[in-house]
């Protein structure tokens, strides 16, 4: 092997990398919060919502789950403007992530709701709650608790998938890596560094989500 590794560029490129990390973090934060919220809303529609909305949500979920994120991103950024809807690349990236995570989390949360014993719902009803109140106060939290690990994995997957938003010039971590290597031609070093950063981000995100789960949900008594 003749190639000489050289990481001297790292210092000078730190601001670019840090900005990339910031944008990636920001993308996943917004994407996760609104994506899961959208997922909850869709799960509600599929479990209890008005009849006419169900096929709409089902179509949305199927479309998103069966096409690559990259294509969805291109559609939002390059396709929507021809309908007069124009947005910045960051907004488009965020929107794509929300829409994507929304579809996946809808399915995950729905599975959690289906695993809820019917009696829970009936207990809520017999205490005079409306179906929506029973859903919100009685069914949702245990359902989320049940599927929290699956949901967390999906959020991490979406975070890693966000690497392609650099294709529409959103200046995330991958953009930073590509930007740096287009200037210094140190492609391998740059990609190794950014891969390690992604790994660290993924581990951190998983820990954060586990911690959040511990805060949101009561611990089961160990028996």
């Amino acid at each position: 092997m003749t190639y000489q590794f050289d990481f001297s560029w790292l210092i000078g490129s730190l601001p670019v990398l840090l900005k990339g990390i910031r944008i990636t973090a920001q993308l996943i934060l917004i994407g996760a919060v609104f994506g899961v919220a959208l997922g909850i809303a869709c799960a509600w529609v599929r479990a209890l919502g008005p009849k006419w909305l169900k096929p709409v949500v089902a179509t949305y979920v199927e479309l998103i789950r069966n096409t690559p994120f990259l294509i969805q991103l291109f559609f939002i950024f390059f396709g929507l403007p021809s309908l007069g809807i124009r947005m910045s690349e960051l907004t488009a990236a965020n929107l794509a992530m929300i829409v994507n995570l929304g579809a996946y989390s809808c399915e995950i949360i729905r599975a959690g709701i289906q695993a809820t014993p019917r009696g829970q719902f009936e207990a809520g009803a017999s205490l005079a709650m409306t179906p929506f109140q029973a859903f919100w106060h009685v069914v949702l939290v245990p359902a989320l608790q049940r599927i929290w690990p699956a949901l967390s994995s999906q959020i991490v997957i979406v975070m890693l998938g966000s690497a392609v938003v650099s294709q529409i010039a959103a200046e995330d971590l991958t953009f930073a890596a590509n930007f740096i290597q287009s200037r210094n031609f140190r492609a391998f070093e740059t990609y190794i560094v950014s891969t390690l950063i992604y790994l660290a981000l993924a581990i951190l995100l998983r820990q954060l989500l586990a911690g959040l789960g511990g805060m949101l949900f009561p611990r089961k008594a160990s028996r």
Binding site: E62, T67, I71, F74, A163, T195
Partner: protein
Amino acid sequence: MTEFSFWDILRNLLLAARWTVVLSLVSFIGGGIVGAALLFLRIGGRRGMQFLSRGYIQLFQGTPLLMQLFLAFFGLGLFGIDVPAWLAACVALILWTAAFLAEIWRGCVESIAKGQWEASASLGMGYLQQMRYVILPQALKVAVPPTVGFSVQVVKGTALTSIIGFVELSKAGSIVTNATFQPFTVYGLVALIYFALCWPLSKSSQLLERKLNVAHRNH
């Protein structure tokens, strides 16, 4: 410059979709084999092996496939191993698929009731016999729906091989867009072709799941 008719666009995309299919099949089959090996190390191997396989899974599930592809292609080249794009794409996708399948299957094995292990142990079976005759036949059934479901992710994952110059469906989409300036038509077709590839897989995964659940509820 050449003019593209709608049929030219469609024909070119479909031709490129062949590569998407081939790449998906290779990744899925290869990933399945590597994933099965990982699974055995992960649940039955020695301490060190368990640790290694866990690290492997962490690494491949914790970094973007995009980066893995890039490093597989150019990284291997750095060490003097000359890999053509299709080989690098296959290697990266197989390794990535294996990590996910191993985890999915581990969940399935662990979902088999503890009593099955104990009953077979009390009949004098050893670890491999328990696995072969009692646990795997049951786990396999549980594993079919999520495995088929994951194949959709593999198909979509092949889109990223465009980064290393492999001309599959997505890459063909951008190339054709660039030659025609019709992003809406081209990406619309690309999305449709992906949907046509993936939807039958998702759907059969759902149907299988329902069928197996019904079978479960019978008792």
